[in-house]
Amino acid sequence: MSMSVNDSCRPQMVQAYADGQLSAAEALVIESHLKICAACSEACRAQRALSGAIGASDLYHKAPDRLRQRLAMALAAQAPIPACAALPPTPRPRQAHAWRSVALAASAFFAVVLSAAIAVRFNPVGRNEILHDVIQSHMRSLILNHLADVPSTDQHTVKPWFNGKIDFSPPVRDLAASGFALSGGRVDVVDNRVVAALVYRRRRHYINLFVWPSDDAPASEFTATRRGYNVIHWNRSGMSYWAVSDLNRPELEQFVSLLNRTAQP
């Protein structure tokens, strides 16, 4: 059975020696054998050549970003956080209640008209619906690997791309110098309206920034965490902004403050 060169050859020990798997004492025994056995020392050199060639050939397949994102999404879904639909509604009833006392003084007809007007004008109208939409859209863009229709890191390519596709011009800023690289833009639908989605990247995290015109008060800011995603919403200069990402909260806040700092007045 044994096909070794002579009785003192122990091929598996030579292999283990070349693999660095022997104790110091065992290694000494093999080393002294290698000095006198041409076949074993050749085998040892060949094994090391093979290991070296495999190591030098870049044969290691690293996990693609797509898998990381897919996994991050699946893991986030494992977190015991209720889905958007199951969340309690936004403070709409309280505001409605405050106005209702005023409305009660007026005619019933006037009350109906007024609360309808308030719902449209001042309330965070369907904020949960929008929150749900932007998170869905964020997830969809990652799952379908469809982040950008205009994949570009150049704000001067991304901004004009929206011309003729939407009826407003979203502010596009590259924040690569601050570690938030613009990676493209696309047109998306949120809350039944066509919006601009700008895509930024921080390390392996993507940020979807949804933008559309809005005349909501500039002060209203809103943050939330749903299913592992952080969401920050604010209004500024006649635009409504929703930033969604699996990025941690402090960094997403940093992103938002950078955007607002570089935004044109």
Partner: protein, 189 residues
């Protein structure tokens, strides 16, 4: 400002997920690389690695003290076999005769050919190895795992790890040398 997520997650499971992300997730590259060489296909490897990571989370409670990588790669391997049974049942049948003759030291290992082998030649040679040899080579040469760790990942004795490695290396050496001599022959023609 609302921060519902952190409050509503139960501390135990949030902590569990955080531990998983910290301990197991850093080995995603190893899981994918292993799956990639087992399936020999990028898309299938993504599916297997993804499924394996979710299984690892499921079994995470039973994980304790052991080395993470062998534990995780054993799960990748089991996931791969489940996947293979379902998707490529014919390949499952291709079995390995582990009683074959041990590698001979007398043959010329021709390490000049090995040193000159390029990435493509090496990659093809590894992909053509029988599965049991291939995985031993991947864990040893790419993951640089110890014999004990490989034994734990493959759920086989250390002696079997050593014999599979020896045979795998012999086959690789032959394939590389053979590939190069065939190239020479084709060029002459």
């Amino acid at each position: 400002m609302t921060e519902l997520g952190a409050k509503q997650a139960s501390p135990g499971s949030a902590h569990r997920l955080e531990r998983f992300n910290r301990i197991v997730l850093p080995h995603l590259d190893a899981a994918y690389n292993y799956a990639r060489w087992l399936t020999r296909n990028g898309q299938d490897a993504e599916d297997v690695a993804h499924e394996a990571m979710l299984r690892a989370l499921q079994f995470f409670d039973s994980f304790n003290r052991e080395q993470v990588r062998p534990w995780l790669l054993a799960i990748v391997r089991n996931t791969f076999y489940t996947w293979l049974k379902k998707n490529r049942p014919l390949e499952l049948a291709e079995s390995l005769n582990d009683d074959s003759i041990p590698a001979s030291l007398q043959d010329d290992p021709s390490h000049a050919a090995i040193l000159n082998a390029d990435r493509r030649v090496l990659s093809d040679a590894i992909e053509r190895l029988p599965r049991e040899y291939r995985e031993a080579v991947i864990l040893r040469e790419m993951e640089e795992m110890s014999y004990q760790e490989i034994a734990a990942a493959l759920e086989i004795p250390v002696g079997t790890v050593m014999s599979r490695l020896a045979r795998a290396r012999r086959k690789l050496t032959e394939a590389i040398a053979g590939g190069q001599s065939r190239d020479v022959y084709e060029r002459k023609r």
